[in-house]
């Protein structure tokens, strides 16, 4: 009979193999789904993974979608390594987008190199404040951050909808819920001309590097790690738990806010209700898949950005529902958690326990 046996030492090999194994299992399941829907599995996989990357334009789009994922994931990594389960990246993102838009529209007629930084800073601050709210609720009132950040996500979404249907609505927009287009001075410069890829990707990569350095070399990073792994030891060592918690939230909020600001000043150029296809939530998967490490989250962000593009491709090419992206991402996380168990356990085939020999 099969049984699970705890390993004496966690398997190092599985720690790195697990994400790959999870990906393979997801792909196999995906093929099964295609077949069940009467579609050719190989064709489906090709459209999902390969076709989106078939030209420069595709790679630019990949970078474009990676940027917000990477920024959000970098911030969430700081929280998750401290075991602060901040689910609010989506809300920080939306608030960043909202307030960046407010400032951009206010500065409408202006031009000059100071416009864009101001807009981005507005987004960063908005995201940071929104996260700080959840952080304070935790440190001052001991509220569970999972629930508070999720509630704040819904509130942020409603604030954005309110703005886009009301105060920020473009008077010449034919009644559609969207803001005016931003002036050129408030737009992010492009990384590769003639594509939509902007410098947001650079922000993301810098953020990942910064987070890596934070945890590898700084004392604050060490304190956050200890806080996450053993809060009694952190108290014993005299590490300021409340200040560290608030710092983690502010950083996560600021980075996600920057992601939101980049999205409205980059590819969108205006504020619309569907500014996020769920970047904040997908970023959670990026963090887990990337093993909460700088290099890992860059790779994972690329993979998950690809799933967004793949979903769109499948919708166009094979008339499949766009929800296939969400399904794929969910499957990936599920398989990842299952494979992760094998870091700690291994399967043993065990005969029934030996009958204890009697003695006269």
């Amino acid at each position: 009979m099969l049984s699970l046996e705890r390993r004496a030492v966690d398997s190092r090999a599985m720690q790195w193999a697990s994400p790959l194994l999870a990906l393979v299992l997801t792909i196999i399941t995906g093929m099964g789904i295609f077949m069940a829907l009467g579609k050719d599995p190989v064709e489906g996989l090709t459209f999902f993974f390969l076709t989106p990357l078939s030209d420069t334009h595709g790679w630019a789009e990949l970078g474009l979608k990676m940027a917000p994922l990477l920024l959000c994931a970098a911030g969430l990594t700081i929280c998750y390594r401290a075991k602060l389960w901040n689910i609010g990246a989506e809300g920080h993102f939306l608030m960043g987008a909202l307030w960046a838009s407010v400032v951009a529209l206010q500065l409408g007629g202006q031009s000059g190199p100071w416009v864009l930084p101001l807009v981005l800073i507005a987004g960063i601050v908005a995201g940071a404040v929104w996260a700080l709210l959840a952080g304070l609720l935790k440190t001052q009132f001991h509220c569970n951050e999972i629930l508070t950040t999720i509630m704040l996500n819904y509130i942020a979404l409603n604030l954005l909808l309110y703005a886009v249907h009301g105060p920020l609505k473009d008077p010449y927009g034919f009644g559609f819920p969207q803001s005016e287009m931003f002036a050129a001075a408030a737009l992010l410069p492009k990384l590769i001309p003639d594509t939509r890829l902007h410098i947001g990707l650079l922000f993301g990569l810098l953020a990942a590097v910064a987070v890596g350095v934070l945890f590898a070399r700084t004392f604050i990073g060490f304190q956050l790690k200890v806080l996450g792994q053993d809060e009694r030891a952190a108290a014993f060592a005299g590490f300021p738990a409340k200040r560290l918690t608030l710092l983690a939230f502010i950083l996560a909020g600021g980075l996600a806010g920057l992601a939101g600001a980049s999205e409205v000043t980059g590819p969108l150029g205006q504020l619309v209700p569907q500014v996020s296809p769920g970047y904040g939530y997908t970023a959670i998967i990026v963090v887990f898949l990337g093993r909460m490490q700088a290099v890992g989250i860059v790779l994972a962000a690329a993979l998950l950005a690809l799933t967004f593009m793949g979903g769109e491709m499948l919708q166009i090419a094979m008339a499949l529902p766009k929800a296939i992206t969400g399904l794929f991402q969910g499957l990936l996380l599920f398989y990842l958690l299952t494979c992760d168990a094998f870091i700690h356990y291994r399967i043993r085939i065990r005969r029934a326990p030996k009958a204890v020999a009697g003695e006269a």
Partner: protein
């Protein structure tokens, strides 16, 4: 006919990855016999006990019960047969009543009539001199009372073999006497008792026979009353390990720590508040505080370490008020602490020894403007491992991979190498093998000789009497007078541990002039 053999274990083997917890163990307990199972921590007693109680299965060997061969299918099966277990860390549910707890361990049909069960509980507990109110919630009971619930539970199940795992470690000397009276009565009535302990004097007082385990094997069997404690100790630890430290007395210096009217109200509903504590420690002395767990030791430790903040003046170190100082500041001023929990407070279990050094020694030049100097941290960790004989594969090994004794040596070393003025150690040799315990004692004495003041909080009376120049007891958050060890009897200490002492004697508050 010869005395009936109630339980017989033969050639029991149990292996875990990396070690043989039981290696061919033989054990025989007769009817009505009180049999001791001796061995230091890590000898394999717990594993053997879990096998007898059916929690785990042996890899090889046989169990014979009342002459019949036996394969246990789990604790419920063991209970049905009449094997009753009294756990060291009790298996009671705090949010349920005494009767509900006992009901859970009985088969459903026997537990159905709640009132009948409550009557039986009262009846049985009184018969053995351990009165219990079946309607009380367990979280309102004292530790001694909780142990009674465990024992009464076994008695209601009509156990013919009672297994007690280190039962006296949580009792005052007087409570130990009551327990022994009960056990002798049970033995007289034909119940067999398996008494697991590492306290040799108690075993000699109570038990008819003893089996000694060392590193998973039986190294001796004897009638403890006929053998000296040194001989039994040799069976437990072998011939190479020193059995105890030689401690030379030393004259103390000026006052380092002054605790004056320390009050601390704990917010933990299961905690103990400190009331009007007064004591002073001088450089070059080791002061001991005895006490049964749960009487304020943890709160005292937290007040001294800075994990709990108290009024500023209640604690002064060399004249500086530190009651409101956070742990980091206290460490800088020379306070070092070794908490009771080595994994999960003293050290982060999943982190390496290198990282765990940084945990408290960050003031030793390892952090420069927020950047960690990794080479300095590694160097510090290596020095601890060398100086304190820590057995580990490498300084990058996780804290969990070290044995209890080695991890404790590491933690003591980490604190001692910061050259503190005051070291507060809570139960430093709990669950530690004898060799490491001796090394830890030597480290504490060395610190004392270098001029530090050491406060030793412990349940181990032998350790306290051996190391401390002055001693007292803590009970229900109050501190007894601290007197010279040479002037203190164990009976007096036992009374103090039970709370029988006057409120802070004025002579304790005086600042001794060198």
């Amino acid at each position: 006919m010869a005395t009936a053999e109630r339980l017989k274990l033969e050639h029991i083997v149990k292996e875990y990855p990396g070690c043989r917890a039981n290696d061919g163990v033989q054990l025989t307990v007769n009817a009505g016999e009180i049999h001791a199972l001796l061995g230091e921590n890590g000898a394999g007693k717990s594993t053997l006990m879990k096998i007898i109680y059916g929690v785990i299965q042996p890899d090889a060997g046989s169990i014979t019960w009342n002459g019949h061969p036996l394969t246990l299918q789990g604790p419920a099966h063991a209970r049905e047969l009449g094997i009753g277990m009294v756990f060291q860390h009790f298996s009671l549910f705090e949010t349920l009543t005494v009767a509900e707890n006992i009901a859970l361990s009985l088969p459903a049909d026997q537990a159905r009539d709640r009132r009948k069960l409550e009557a039986r509980i009262s009846e049985v507990s009184e018969h053995y001199g351990m009165a219990l109110d079946p309607r009380r919630y367990v979280n309102t009971l004292s530790i001694g009372e909780r142990q009674r619930v465990e024992i009464v539970r076994c008695l209601i199940q009509e156990s013919s073999l009672l297994i007690l795992d280190e039962p006296t470690s949580v009792l005052t000397p007087q409570e130990v006497e009551t327990l022994f009276r009960t056990l002798r009565q049970l033995s007289h009535e034909g119940c067999s008792i398996l008494f697991i302990s590492h306290k040799l004097q108690e075993v000699r007082d109570l038990c008819h026979r003893a089996t000694v385990l060392r590193q998973g094997r039986v190294t001796g069997e004897c009638n403890p009353a006929e053998v000296s404690t040194d001989d039994i100790a040799r069976m437990m630890v072998g011939n190479e390990t020193p059995l105890s430290t030689r401690v030379e007395p030393r004259a103390p210096g000026e006052v380092l720590l002054d605790v004056s009217h320390l009050n601390y109200r704990t917010s933990d509903p299961f905690g103990t508040s400190l009331q009007d504590l007064c004591m002073s420690l001088r450089s070059g002395e080791i002061v001991g505080i005895a006490g049964v767990a749960g009487n304020g030791q943890d709160e005292l430790l937290r007040a001294l370490s800075g994990e709990a903040l108290v009024s500023n003046d209640s604690i002064t170190l060399s004249g500086v008020a530190i009651g409101q100082a956070k742990p980091g500041l206290r460490r800088r001023l020379g306070v070092a602490v070794v908490p009771e929990e080595r994994l999960g407070r003293g050290a982060v279990p999943s982190m390496s020894l290198v990282d765990n050094s940084l945990l408290t020694a960050y003031g030793e030049g390892m952090v420069n403007k927020g950047w960690v100097a990794l080479n300095k941290v590694r160097d510090y960790a290596s020095r601890i491992v060398d100086a304190f004989g820590v057995r580990t594969a490498s300084i990058d090994s996780h804290a969990t991979s070290l044995s209890g004794g080695n991890l404790q040596k590491f933690i003591i070393g980490r604190e001692a190498m910061q050259q503190p003025k005051l070291l507060v150690a809570s139960h430093p040799t709990w669950g530690v093998d004898v060799g490491s315990a001796v090394a830890i004692h030597e480290a504490l004495v060395r610190l004392r000789d270098e001029g530090a003041a050491v406060l030793l909080i412990s349940e181990d009376l032998d350790e306290l009497f051996q190391l401390c120049g002055r001693m007292g007891a803590i009970c229900a958050g109050r501190l007894s007078p601290l007197v010279n060890t040479s002037d203190l009897t164990i009976e007096q200490l036992g009374q103090w541990m039970a709370g029988d002492f006057p409120s802070a004697a004025p002579s304790e508050v005086s600042h001794a002039v060198a």
